[in-house]
């Protein structure tokens, strides 16, 4: 039915005779009108049903493009595995960030949470003589607690996640400076006192491809979260809350309790990232990963997850992180200045969000 006649019939629906007449004649209005669609519309529908396809296509195209631009050096086993190593930390942060963004939230504090957790791990084990495993456990608790703290502020005080995490970003960063006195914990000290902290930085060589254990852990985290989001009620509730919080509440989901648990799980993932980051960087530096917050959001957005919540996939964020890695690596091998890497990344973000908006129009 076209719009005009629809409007007219709405105006007339108070007249019983009219409604009855129309109703009897028309019996097939439950079938779908898929017959007349342009190719563009079909693409739009397809992407709507399969949002992860976009980052996959961008990743493949950018790998091919940089293969041409940067030549064989880009495709070397060393470089490709270096890309994976480089995106490990941002990838893990993006995994945590995805959980928050799926609830229509945003977490500006993930990187600060991570550094705080790594400071606990390093301080306790290297400088205070605590055995390494308990020190790591304290780091995990710190991650869960800081995540839950964000969640509690969001649910109890009804503040927007953007504001809450803008605040806690600064608070966590201040705590990091307080605990460390702006001093880094040196890599050599860690190696002597708590070598286990470097575990995820260990490398293995698979036919020329060099991977850190941390890269495998990152993949493991993504797979685990995929199962959690898609196979459990908890995961479906993450999507339901982001999609329509009020509807989720009326469906019997305890949305506040869920949100706190989501922020806490994200905090735990971030704390795992903290352990991996010590292996990756070697030292614990209070000022490291300062841009990690925004990098993680970039990866999630390029990965096709909607900032409006309820839409997106966890695996998309892995592709998003890899796309960022491929761009930085390819552009630097091609000899372009860092400013052009930034420029390209900026364009990519805007294109990704533009595509997301376009896809979302399907439902309107």
């Amino acid at each position: 039915m076209n719009k005009v006649s629809d409007d007219i019939s709405k105006d007339l629906k108070d007249q019983p005779k009219f409604t009855t007449d129309i109703g009897e004649k028309d019996q097939d209005h439950h079938s779908f009108d898929l017959g007349e669609q342009t190719t563009l519309k079909k693409i739009q529908h397809f992407l709507h049903g399969n949002p992860t396809i976009v980052p996959v296509i961008i990743l493949i195209l950018s790998v091919i493009a940089f293969g041409f631009i940067a030549g064989g050096k880009f495709f070397s086993a060393f470089n490709l595995s270096l890309i994976v190593q480089q995106v490990t930390i941002v990838g893990i942060l993006a995994a945590a960030q995805t959980l928050i963004i799926l609830t229509a939230g945003i977490d500006l504090s993930v990187a600060a949470m991570m550094v705080l957790a790594s400071v606990f791990m390093g301080k306790l084990s290297v400088e205070m003589g605590v055995p390494t495993l308990p020190a790591i456990a304290v780091g995990f608790i710190s991650g869960i607690a800081t995540g839950a703290f964000n969640g509690l502020l969001v649910t109890r005080l009804r503040l927007p996640p953007f504001i809450v995490t803008l605040g806690t970003w600064n608070i966590f960063f201040a705590l990091v400076i307080f605990f460390t006195g702006s001093q880094s914990i040196r890599s050599s000290d860690i190696e002597v006192n708590a070598p286990l902290l470097h575990f995820w930085g260990e490398r293995i060589n698979l036919g020329g491809f060099v991977f850190t254990y941390g890269a495998f852990l990152m993949i493991g985290i993504f797979v685990f979260l995929w199962f959690l989001l898609n196979k459990t009620a908890w995961g479906r509730h993450v999507y339901a809350i982001g999609d329509d919080k009020e509807a989720a509440e009326l469906s019997g989901i305890r949305t506040d309790r869920m949100l706190v648990s989501i922020y806490a799980v994200a905090g735990l993932v971030v704390a795992i990232g903290a352990w991996v980051s010590i292996g990756r960087v070697g030292s614990v530096s209070p000022t490291s990963f300062y841009e990690g917050n925004l990098d993680s959001i970039t990866a999630v957005v390029i990965g096709g997850t909607s900032l409006f919540g309820g839409r997106g996939t966890i695996i998309g964020s892995l592709f998003g992180a890899l796309i960022v890695g491929v761009f930085s690596s390819g552009l630097s091998i091609a000899g372009l200045d860092v400013l052009w890497q930034r420029f390209a990344l900026g364009c990519l973000i805007i294109v990704a969000v533009g595509i997301d908006q376009w896809i979302r129009k399907v439902s309107a």
Binding site: M1, D6, D14, D28, D243, D244, A248, S251, G252
Partner: protein, 254 residues
């Protein structure tokens, strides 16, 4: 015959505004009770009290003759009072199955379900398909379709199927046809008949007189925070109902 649901002298004040003034309501087995009233008559407060969204200041609610109290729609639902909200309370980006089982998911049996908490997607899809076809909504082909791809009437169908699926004693429907076009409204009215024929009584709140007169067995007219009268739609004209509602005419003495 014992009523399924009875509201006894419910009162609710918001500051100095009296929204409910010792209001009564009875719902009998297998009937559709229309609830109409002018804007501000307190009918939406009455419904919110019955579905658990508002806690009354005084008065009691009896379900199957037993006094019940609830402080949230979730508690009311556990007792068998299901509400189909005007905005339907569906999650558009989730599938039909996900929506029907939202908050009441079925887990897999054994270790996978109890320890890993994996969902039994097949059982849920089968059940959802059965519920929809029971209500004559077989035309929805793909049970894993996202709700946002459905038309307004189909969404209403999913919401109704969800409301009637879990040992329901009473279904409250709030303005089910308000957002729909003519054809879709027709389908929803058929759906209400379908639910009634399965023995589940319905409270239907609507501004649409023709719709109420068409499907309701009795019509509860609410005015100034209380029940003015209950009329039989077969013995009264629509214009009479509007006149009682607005106070232009005195209600009939039983």
């Amino acid at each position: 015959m014992q009523p399924v649901l009875v509201a006894n002298k419910l009162s609710k004040k918001y500051g100095k505004v009296v929204a409910l003034d010792s209001a009564d309501l009875e719902l009998y087995p297998g009937e559709v009770l229309g609830v109409i009233g002018d804007n501000g008559a307190g009918k939406s407060t009455l419904i919110k009290v019955l579905c658990g969204a508002v806690i009354p200041d005084s008065g009691e609610i009896l379900l199957d003759g037993n006094k019940v109290t609830f402080t949230s729609p979730i508690e009311a639902r556990k007792l068998g009072i299901e509400t189909v909200y005007q905005n339907l309370a569906l999650s558009p980006a989730l599938s039909i199955t996900d929506n029907m089982f939202l908050g009441r998911e079925i887990r897999q049996k054994g270790f996978m379900g109890s320890f890993l908490k994996f969902l039994d997607k097949k059982a849920m899809a089968d059940e959802a398909r059965k519920r929809l076809s029971d209500l004559g909504l077989l035309t929805i082909q793909n049970i894993n379709q996202l709700v946002e791809t459905l038309s307004g009437g189909q969404r209403q169908g999913v919401a109704v199927a969800r409301a009637t699926s879990f040992g329901t004693k009473v279904v409250i429907m709030d303005e089910p046809t308000a957002a729909l076009g003519v054809k879709e409204s027709r389908r929803v009215l058929e759906l209400i008949g379908e639910v009634r024929s399965r023995g589940i009584p319905i409270i239907l709140i609507s501004h649409n007189m023709p719709h109420v007169f068409e499907v309701a067995d009795r019509i509860h007219i609410h005015r100034l925070g209380t029940r003015l009268c209950v009329i039989d739609p077969k013995k009264h004209e629509m214009s009479d109902a509007v006149a009682y509602m607005t106070g232009a005419k005195q209600p009939p003495k039983d």
